[in-house]
């Protein structure tokens, strides 16, 4: 039963090898989807290219539905999976700062690595910027610590937060995503095209 490494089915020594293989697949998928291009990524904010929205939500739906199915069929124990913890104000304030960074630079960290790999100098500068941002956080850690460590709500999931079944939540989320995909196609047709990116 999964997860395989934490349950000792695959020996721990394989961890780094598996990390590199998973990374290669991750990089290949992102780059092939066009995520090494900041102009393509930023398109979502201006309505001329919705690849980010479509790839992101499709991946979120496929993975959440798939994991729930595997849990249901007994292939994986969801309670063993790492759930990103909820620090309420950290999640909001951090997300807002990242949002401004995203539209300013047109990259997020994962996509910037893909762009670095194919020689984009702006992506190299962006990664240097990320490292500077991390240094700023570390040096001013005392200032940020109240929101970094505070408002901890636990390792909670959306079905607990909204008090509905996870299956119903995924169903509603799927419908919202499908409507969003449909609307995004209408918007894109109305916007003037941005060529050659």
């Amino acid at each position: 039963m999964g997860p395989l490494i934490p349950n000792g089915v695959i020996p721990f020594e394989w961890n780094n090898i598996i990390a590199i293989i998973i990374g290669i697949a991750f990089g290949f998928i992102l780059e092939s989807s066009g995520f090494s291009s900041s102009r393509k990524l930023a398109g979502v904010f201006y309505g001329y290219d919705f690849a980010v929205l479509k790839v992101f939500f499709t991946a979120a739906l496929v993975s959440s539905i798939g994991l729930l199915y595997m849990d249901y069929l007994g292939y994986v124990d969801m309670s063993f999976l790492y759930v990103h913890p909820t620090y309420l104000w950290g999640a909001i304030i951090g997300g807002v700062i990242m949002g401004v960074g995203f539209v300013a630079a047109g990259f997020c960290p994962g996509t910037s690595l893909c762009a670095v790999a194919i020689g984009k100098i702006d992506a190299i500068v962006y990664v240097i910027g990320i490292m500077v941002g991390i240094v700023i956080f570390a040096e001013l850690y005392e200032v940020f610590q109240p929101i970094y460590d505070g408002y901890f709500k636990g390792y909670i999931t959306l079905d607990e937060t909204f008090n509905i079944s996870p299956y119903l939540f995924i169903f509603l989320f799927t419908i919202i995503a499908l409507v969003t995909f449909f609307i995004s196609d209408i918007i894109r047709k109305k916007r003037k095209k941005v060529h050659h990116y």
């Binding site: 999964g2 997860p3 990390a19 590199i20 998973i22 990374g23 290669i24 991750f26 990089g27 780059e31 989807s33 090494s36 900041s38 102009r39 979502v44 904010f45 201006y46 001329y48 690849a51 790839v55 992101f56 499709t58 496929v62 993975s63 969801m78 759930v83 990103h84 913890p85 620090y87 999640a91 951090g94 997300g95 807002v96 990242m98 949002g99 960074g101 995203f102 539209v103 300013a104 960290p109 690595l113 790999a117 100098i121 992506a123 962006y126 990664v127 990320i130 490292m131 500077v132 941002g133 991390i134 700023i136 956080f137 570390a138 940020f144 709500k153 909670i156 999931t157 959306l158 050659h196």
Partner: protein
Amino acid sequence: MEQEKQKRNIYWNPYFGGFLLGILIIFTFYITGRGLGASGAMKSSVVAITDFVTHDHAESNAYYSKFIEEDQSPMNSWLVMEALGVLLGAFISGGLAGRIGWRVQHSPKITSKRRLIFALLGGVLFGLGAQIARGCTSGAALSGLAVLSTGGFITMIAIFGTGFLAAYFFRKNWI
């Protein structure tokens, strides 16, 4: 030549890419019990560099010291190995499509210098935000959503919501 140039701008159908990415996330959780990440590798790099340049400072800093262990380098982490894989995977994909080459990519309406300044500033903000939220688009939002994490969901809404709200102020860079 013309054909080669056209191939460069052709990418996968986004639903196909998203589907494969979803399968990869399931596979990653199934094998390792955790999701994907990206900014974590950059944090490890910063910790490793700081530890190398000013060891005492890194030890005394409340944030860096969380990630320093006596017997192993901060670079010896799953996320660093995964990030090396990302570079390799993207290099293969870009190579097969003829997209490899040194360049600064930007809208024809702005200069390279302006592009680089905004890339740097955006990076600083993203690096800072990813620490405050304990993860970026990959680790918090995408991997969080796969297991229905409330925090991951909030961060996703905050990132994209703010992106749309702030888009007006950065429009000259893109359209």
